[in-house]
């Protein structure tokens, strides 16, 4: 009886925080945007918004793949290095006269393969994702450096670099790519078998295995997907830098994880979504953009972002912690 009551209490608690969290992150963004708009008229100008979207799009794309990996209960620290590798491969191919679209395609496939290799090692050798992708971070950066002798590859076709500045329907093309990928990510997470299986694996891998879910295929796919989105970001980066830089994207893994966690995805897996990550990415970008406009010291802005991340995780943990307490009580 007592047990039931506790459970019910927990249920309400959980339901409340569960919904609260998604709305919460959205509200934070809205409040942020409105207050910035009031404080500084330039913030809400089309010019600034479109700049904001453009500059955020690359990390935003990386965060999409990261979200899937984290939902599956893993982590991918290699995203920045895969980004760099893909971007130098695309640049090298283009400067060698390979057609632009083919170059992009090869670069994207490379990213997916890089992710796949890590997925294979993670599943088959049962090495923790943290370790495998940490190695990936070092190795893929190293390959990118080797390929370029640590120098930026320049001289990309203008028709390619033009993509970074072109606007479609009044929005930067880069931002449109990002928003499109967000939409696809939301659909994949919510409406596909792959999405369902990723959540199941992140929630309880053993239960998923015993339910007949193909864990191997899902793990392979999710890391390949993350490598693929990192490669897309790499191509965007090559366009924006008008060259392939082997040092591009360093530190992006932390930004992407921050955006994902801020967006309500649980680092322990099984909970989260791409939509939340979009908000998370936007919040971080808005704080730094708005802060810059108002002349706030960028280091202060970094501190604010850090505090926000901790707050997001605290929200993530409160229901769980009370949950374990109750569990201990009921088990006795």
């Amino acid at each position: 009886m007592n047990k039931n009551r506790d459970k019910k209490m927990m249920a309400n608690n959980k339901k409340f925080t569960g919904r609260f969290q998604e709305i919460n992150i959205f509200l934070v963004l809205v409040v942020l945007v409105i207050s910035l708009a009031i404080l500084n008229k330039r913030f809400i100008s089309i010019e600034n918004i479109s700049n904001l979207l453009r500059s955020t799009s690359i990390i935003g794309v990386v965060a999409i793949g990261m979200t899937f990996v984290i939902i599956s209960g893993g982590i991918d620290l290699s995203v920045g290095s895969v980004l760099a590798l893909s971007s130098v491969i695309a640049a090298r191919l283009m400067t060698s006269g390979v057609p632009i679209y083919l170059s992009i395609l090869i670069s994207l496939v490379t990213g997916a393969i890089a992710g796949l290799i890590m997925g294979v090692i993670i599943y088959e050798a049962e090495v923790p994702p943290f370790i495998v992708t940490l190695a990936g971070l070092v190795v893929f950066r190293g390959i990118a450096m080797l390929l370029t002798s640590a120098k930026k590859i320049i001289g990309l076709p203008v028709s390619f670099t033009h993509f970074a500045v072109v606007k479609v329907l009044g929005l930067p093309a880069m931002a449109i790519v990002w928003l499109l990928l967000i939409a696809i990510g939301v659909v994949v997470a919510r409406f596909t078998v792959f999405g369902r299986n990723i959540f199941a694996i992140g929630s309880n891998q053993e239960a998923a295995r015993l339910s007949g879910i193909n864990i191997r295929a899902s793990i392979y796919k999710v890391y390949a997907l993350c490598g693929f989105t990192s490669a897309i970001a790499g191509v965007l980066m090559a366009a924006r830098l008008a060259g392939g830089s082997p040092s591009a994207g360093s530190g992006y893994e932390l930004d992407a994880i921050a955006a994902t966690v801020l967006g309500g995805t649980s680092l322990t897996g099984g909970i989260g979504g791409v939509f939340g990550t979009f908000f998370g990415t936007m919040i971080i970008a808005t704080i730094s953009n708005g802060g810059n406009l108002m002349g706030i010291n960028p280091f202060v802005l970094e501190i604010i972002v850090g505090v926000l991340i901790v707050l997001a995780v605290v929200f993530d943990h409160i229901p769980k912690r009370s949950g374990t307490k109750l569990k201990i009580k009921t088990e006795e």
């Binding site: 459970k7 927990m10 199941a200 929630s203 015993l210 879910i213 099984g270 949950g323």
Partner: protein, 506 residues
């Protein structure tokens, strides 16, 4: 023997009530210095409840506990420690990555005058105790590198070192080989010689006769007997443990067995089980009975493809099938309901809807896209059909009760149109009301022609619901009895590896 025998602990008239169940009913129990007091009874008889009360994990509803003649209250494990009552549990409560010596002094590591750890003292003192008990273990070894037996020895040594006056052994031999068991007994006898009072719980009844001085039998929370082991024998003890009418609660209407739908042939895995053979018919509940760690779980998991096996064939509808992963088992219409629902059966962070459809997404999708309408209908239908108590299909499964969680797992297999169900301890940890509902569902399943395999270490339940029971002892299939031949005593004997066939039983 130690000259008798000062009383250390006396329990008087203990009652413990759980909602709907009287787990302990007026229990008296005494522990004397230098005496090994066996505690036997079937699962659910109240042994662990009694132990938990003694170690402060549970509070009695009523009754008194005296230590050294003084009335005490044991409100939590720390009280128990202060009263010098300790326990050696199976799931060794130790820091596995620390050394033996560090574990000995856990929380009380000696310091030298600079405030640093005094390693010399720590190690020497530990070595001394180990030597005293004749335990051949290096104090500097990491605990995890020891064998199960050695770990247990170390734990015993720790109890000895802490000068506990009462030590509780809960199924200490479950993980041990017979040779290790001998060593364990030697250590226990050493404790006894030192005047420690010992409570010894085991499913292996023969051990009671080997090591105990006195034995208490519990059944359904009542004390059935308390006597010196010299005044009883194996047969008598088992009879006292059983002695119950088991037919009423399990009123499943059994089917006439028709065609065979599942057959297991010469299933073997070195060190786990050998040459297992059985067939299951449409409409049959087939029970597999074995005591803790007898290998039953390994057998069904191997059948399900969740654990490897070395030899053997499986047939479904007389056709040979190859099952090497849960994936292929599911594809062949086999559903598995693990004992530990939370860690193996459910994605507890996800919704009822998601869990119910977990195994079926490939069949309810097109081009990788889930058909949400069918997904919702599946969930809603099952919630209704199985009477799953939940506010809605979007409820997170973590928030359901144990019985309802079990139903969600079952619903998952029903949605997947399974014909063969493997239940591992189906009613473990769920209350009586939910149990009856689960039995009703079993009845519906067999009425629909499904085949059910149940492994259980709870004999009354298995006898109540199974059509046939096969008994496993240490990985060996002893005998298969059909319903009209069920005899609780006989089954328990087989499961304990006792194989004296009384002529009149044939």
């Amino acid at each position: 023997m130690v000259l008798e025998n000062q009383e250390i602990v006396r329990i008087e008239g203990i009652y413990k009530e759980f909602p709907g169940v009287l787990a302990l009913d007026n229990i008296d129990y005494q522990i004397y210095e230098g005496q090994i007091h066996g505690l036997v009874g079937e699962n659910g008889a109240g042994k662990s409840t009694l132990i938990k009360i003694l170690t402060g994990a549970l509070q009695p509803t009523n009754g008194e506990i005296f230590v050294n003649g003084k009335k005490v209250a044991i409100n939590d494990p720390i009280d128990a420690q202060n009263l010098q009552i300790g326990a050696v549990y199976q799931d060794l409560t130790v820091a596995k990555d620390l050394t033996v010596a560090e574990n000995f002094f856990l929380g009380q590591i000696p310091k030298n005058r600079f405030g640093f750890v005094d390693w010399k003292k720590t190690v020497n003192k530990t070595a001394e105790v180990l030597r005293e008990l004749n335990i051949d273990v290096d104090p500097n070894m990491i605990l995890n590198k020891l064998t199960a037996a050695q770990k247990e020895m170390v734990l015993i040594a720790k109890q000895y070192f802490k000068k506990y006056r009462v030590v509780i052994f809960d199924e200490p031999t479950a993980l041990l080989t017979s040779k290790d068991t001998e060593e364990l007994f030697r250590a226990i006898r050493k404790l006894k010689k030192e005047g420690v009072g010992i409570i010894y719980i085991s499913h292996r009844i023969e051990e009671i006769f080997e090591i105990c001085d006195t034995v208490t039998v519990l059944r359904d929370g009542k004390k059935i007997a308390c006597m010196p082991v010299s005044e009883t024998n194996l047969d008598d003890l088992i009879s006292r443990m059983v002695g119950r009418d088991v037919s009423d609660m399990y009123s499943i209407s059994h089917q006439d067995l028709s065609k065979e739908i599942f057959r297991v042939e010469s299933f073997s895995k070195t060190g786990a089980f050998r040459n297992i053979n059985f067939d299951v018919h449409s409409g049959e509940i087939f029970g597999i009975f074995g005591l803790v760690n007898s290998g039953t779980a390994k057998i069904v998991r191997a059948i399900y493809g969740a654990e490897p096996f070395e030899q053997g064939n499986l047939y479904i509808d007389s056709k040979k099938v190859r099952i090497n992963s849960p994936l292929s088992a599911v594809a062949n219409g086999i559903g598995f309901l693990p004992e530990d629902k939370k860690t193996e059966g459910l994605a507890t962070k996800l919704s009822v809807r998601h869990n119910i459809n977990l195994s079926s997404y490939l069949t309810i999708s097109r081009l990788g896209f889930v058909n949400r309408k069918i997904e919702n209908t599946n969930a809603q239908e099952q919630v209704k059909a199985l009477n799953i108590k939940t506010p809605g299909i979007e409820q997170i499964v973590m928030n359901l009760s144990g019985g309802n969680q079990q139903k969600v797992i079952l619903a998952k297999w029903l949605v997947n149109r399974c014909k063969i169900f493997i239940f591992e301890e189906p009613t473990a940890g769920i209350d009586v009301g939910a149990k009856e509902e689960i039995y009703k569902i079993l009845e519906i399943l067999i009425n629909n022609g499904s085949a059910i395999i149940i492994i259980s270490s709870y004999l009354p339940e298995l006898m109540g619901i199974a059509d046939r029971i096969t008994v496993i002892y240490e990985g060996t299939q002893m005998e298969t009895l059909s319903r009209n031949k069920f005899d609780e005593k006989r089954l328990l004997q087989l499961a304990s590896g006792v194989n004296f066939n009384e002529k009149n039983e044939r």
